[in-house]
């Protein structure tokens, strides 16, 4: 399981970059159609949830909780 | 609840008992002379009827609390007087905007500001219609006896339930403390929410039943979501809010007309209208037009009798209902308009009218 960023929702606040203890995210360089720089998932394998198999509960979730836009979702590998 | 029969009650107590008969089960208020007795009576009676009584920290919160309670599907009311009524204005607008059925009893006293707490006046007549900002309509009832205060309070709850609108009962300091004989009938028609369907009035969906209601005082669409950048939504909403009262004016309005053929018509309401009866009794050339519903203005009833007549308006303020009477009267061919203003706490006497006649 690893995080992905929904570019329709992201407003580029970069709070996920700040709060992630494992430095999974990084500031983005591409402008979305709403005019924001969406953050990107750079090192998805560093995420604490990375090795959790299907149906498992995410461990850390701090990025999910902090993201004000609900733009971060967890996806199965 | 009062059993059918005859009673000797003060106006404030009668209004409170009437509310209980009408099904009011939530009262929030704040003490203010001369409406305090109504609240004190409710404090005693509400728990007995399994209703909720709460004394809030001010009038702002009193009306807020009854709007909140009304949204859970309870019939709710508050009572106040001059300064408290001024404080409630903002949330009367909110109730009109969100179409919340509530009843407010305003016991008028001398103003402006703190003015004269214990004397009678009719200075809040236009405030009850125009007091909150923006375009809205209220239903305002004006009784002139304790019996009528009793009956009209029940009607106020019915009108509120039918039209989903704040309804104001304009009592006054005299009526509130006046003790009179009243008769309680065997049965009253009590209208529950959604019992009667009227054009332009959507059905009432209370909170807490899983409907996921969204209520907002902002301009909102049919779902209740705030829409603040679409002029059309606002136009539709406000037009409907106004029309639902104005278009139903013939069914809402209720007047007393005596001697409709007379050349001279006295227009009066509330306690001041009682000065007119002795004159009409002796003199068939003088008629009386007494609106029990002040707002919406009973235009459909007034236009039938006003043509070519001399109109004398009698009220206890310096400028009030007369402007509306003149407006409508002129429109339908009324001839002369005179106003008798009486202020200072004196209830008009027949001699005041005789002077003008």
């Amino acid at each position: 399981m690893y995080p992905i960023i929904n570019k329709d929702y992201c407003k580029g606040c970069n709070l996920c970059v700040e709060v992630c203890p494992k430095r999974v995210f990084e500031k983005g360089m591409e402008i979305t159609h709403r005019g924001y720089y969406a953050a990107v998932v750079k090192y998805k394998e560093q995420c604490t949830n990375f090795k959790i198999p299907n149906g498992g509960k995410p461990l850390c979730e701090i990025c999910w909780l902090t993201c004000p836009e609900h733009a971060i979702e967890f996806k199965e590998d | 609840m009062l059993t059918p029969g005859r009673y000797f009650l003060a106006g404030n107590i009668a209004a409170a008992e009437a509310a209980l008969i009408a099904g009011c089960r939530f009262y929030a208020g704040y003490p203010i002379t001369p409406s305090s007795e109504l609240m004190e009576h409710m404090a005693k009676r509400m728990p007995e009827e399994n209703g909720v009584f709460i004394q809030m920290e001010d009038e702002l919160s009193a009306i807020s609390a009854i709007i909140g309670a009304a949204w859970t599907g309870k019939k709710a009311m508050t009572a106040t007087s001059g300064p408290g009524f001024s404080l409630m204005q903002e949330n009367i607008g909110y109730a009109a905007m969100t179409e919340t059925p509530i009843v407010i009893v305003d016991v008028m006293r001398g103003g402006p500001s703190t003015g004269q707490p214990t004397i009678v006046a009719q200075g809040d007549v236009l405030q009850s219609r125009f007091g909150s900002h923006g375009d809205y309509e209220t239903i305002v009832l004006a009784p002139n006896s304790v019996q009528e205060l009793f009956d009209l309070t029940i009607r106020a709850f019915n009108l509120a339930s039918i039209f989903r609108n704040p309804v104001i009962v304009l009592s006054d300091a005299e009526l509130a403390h006046m003790v009179e004989k009243i008769e309680v009938a065997q049965k009253y028609d009590i209208v529950e929410f959604n019992q009667v369907e009227v054009d332009l009035v959507p059905s009432f969906v209370p909170l807490g039943y899983g409907f996921k209601v969204a209520v907002t005082g902002l301009t909102h669409n049919f779902k209740g979501y705030p829409i603040t950048n679409d002029v059309k939504v606002h136009r539709e909403l406000v037009t409907r809010l106004v029309d639902k009262i104005i278009k139903n004016e013939p069914t809402i309005s209720d007047v007393e007309i005596i001697n409709p053929e007379a050349e001279t018509i006295i227009v009066s309401y509330g306690i001041s209208s009682r000065a007119a009866y002795p004159i009409i009794k002796d003199n068939k050339d003088v008629g009386l037009f007494r609106p029990r519903t002040l707002w919406p203005f009973p235009e459909s009833k007034f236009k039938e009798i006003v043509k070519g007549k001399r109109v004398i308006i009698l009220e206890m303020n310096l400028r009030g209902y007369a402007i509306e009477v003149e407006r409508v009267g002129r429109k339908y061919g009324g001839k002369d308009f005179e106003t008798i203003h009486i202020i200072g706490g004196e209830v008009p006497k027949p001699s005041h009218i005789e002077e003008v006649l």
Partner: protein, 276 residues
């Protein structure tokens, strides 16, 4: 319950500014509700005016967006006439404490069973960033161009003094603790109050060199001190007032007590006049 069962998907994405803390609080609210499995049909969300006042509009439950400052009074009416409902008030600091300050202290005094989440972003965000009663000393807003020179409110301490049963303060930098605190509040009977310090990078932050939400969040984190590490006696409110003035937020559960909620006061308290 999926996230979009709790929130109205047809209104998403919400219109809060990028980096606004309200989104974080909305996540925490969802998580607490999901964990406790609370029936959302039996829950009413009430709010006043302001950015935070728009939050219930996004929640897929009964919601009441009221006039400025009166949210608590509306909620009181709802709770008293339908005691079976969970009534949650979520509103901003300006709404609850500036214009509505009277209603909240009275609700806390009555100890009525409401759950109040006050989002404190230290200014009026919706109207363009004016000074609020929570703006820390010397901070700049549009109506304090020379720096705020009033002392800010200590919201949580005031509500504790007014008589609430559960009082806590957390920040958006502590989302997990916030979730726990919301759960605690939901399970406490009586008036429960949670103050959440939140970032407002666009209005408050930008004028105070914290225009980037990341900086603002860092500032909040640096200025919050857990109550467990405090060395003074929390029963003495004076020290707390002083700390608050300096813009330091004491986070944690301030008060947990068991006064009887409104309507359940012990009947034996009887006034005994000397004549008896």
């Amino acid at each position: 319950m999926e996230f979009f069962d709790f929130y109205r998907k047809d209104r998403w994405p919400h219109q809060f500014c990028p980096g606004c803390g309200l989104g974080t609080i909305m996540n925490c609210l969802y998580k607490a509700f999901n964990d406790l499995n609370i029936d959302i049909d039996k829950t009413v969300f009430v709010s006043g005016i302001g950015c935070t006042g728009r939050v219930p509009g996004y929640i897929n439950a009964d919601s009441l967006h009221t006039t400025h400052g009166r949210a608590i009074a509306f909620a009181t009416g709802i709770k008293l006439s339908r005691p079976d409902l969970n009534v949650i008030v979520i509103s901003g600091d300006g709404d609850l404490f500036a214009i509505g300050g009277n209603h909240i202290i009275h609700a806390a005094r009555r100890n009525i069973d409401l759950k109040v989440i006050a989002v404190n972003n230290a200014n009026y965000g919706l109207t363009g960033g004016q000074m609020a009663p929570t703006t820390p000393y010397n901070m700049i807003t549009t109506t304090t161009p020379y720096g705020q020179r009033e002392y800010p409110f200590a919201l949580a301490e005031l509500i504790a003094a007014a008589g609430a049963n559960y009082v806590a303060r957390w920040t958006t930098a502590h989302p997990n603790q916030l979730v726990k605190s919301i759960k605690e509040a939901m399970q406490t009977k009586g008036f429960s109050f949670i103050e959440v310090i939140s970032q407002c990078p666009v209005n408050f932050g930008r004028r105070n060199k914290m225009g980037d939400p990341v900086f603002h969040l860092r500032w909040i984190k640096d200025h919050s001190v857990p109550i467990s590490k405090m060395t003074f006696d929390i029963n003495s409110p004076y020290d707390i007032v002083d700390l608050n003035t300096k813009g330091i937020y004491i986070i944690g559960d301030l008060v947990k007590r068991n006064r009887s909620p409104y309507g359940e006061i012990e009947k034996e308290i009887e006034v005994k006049g000397p004549q008896e």
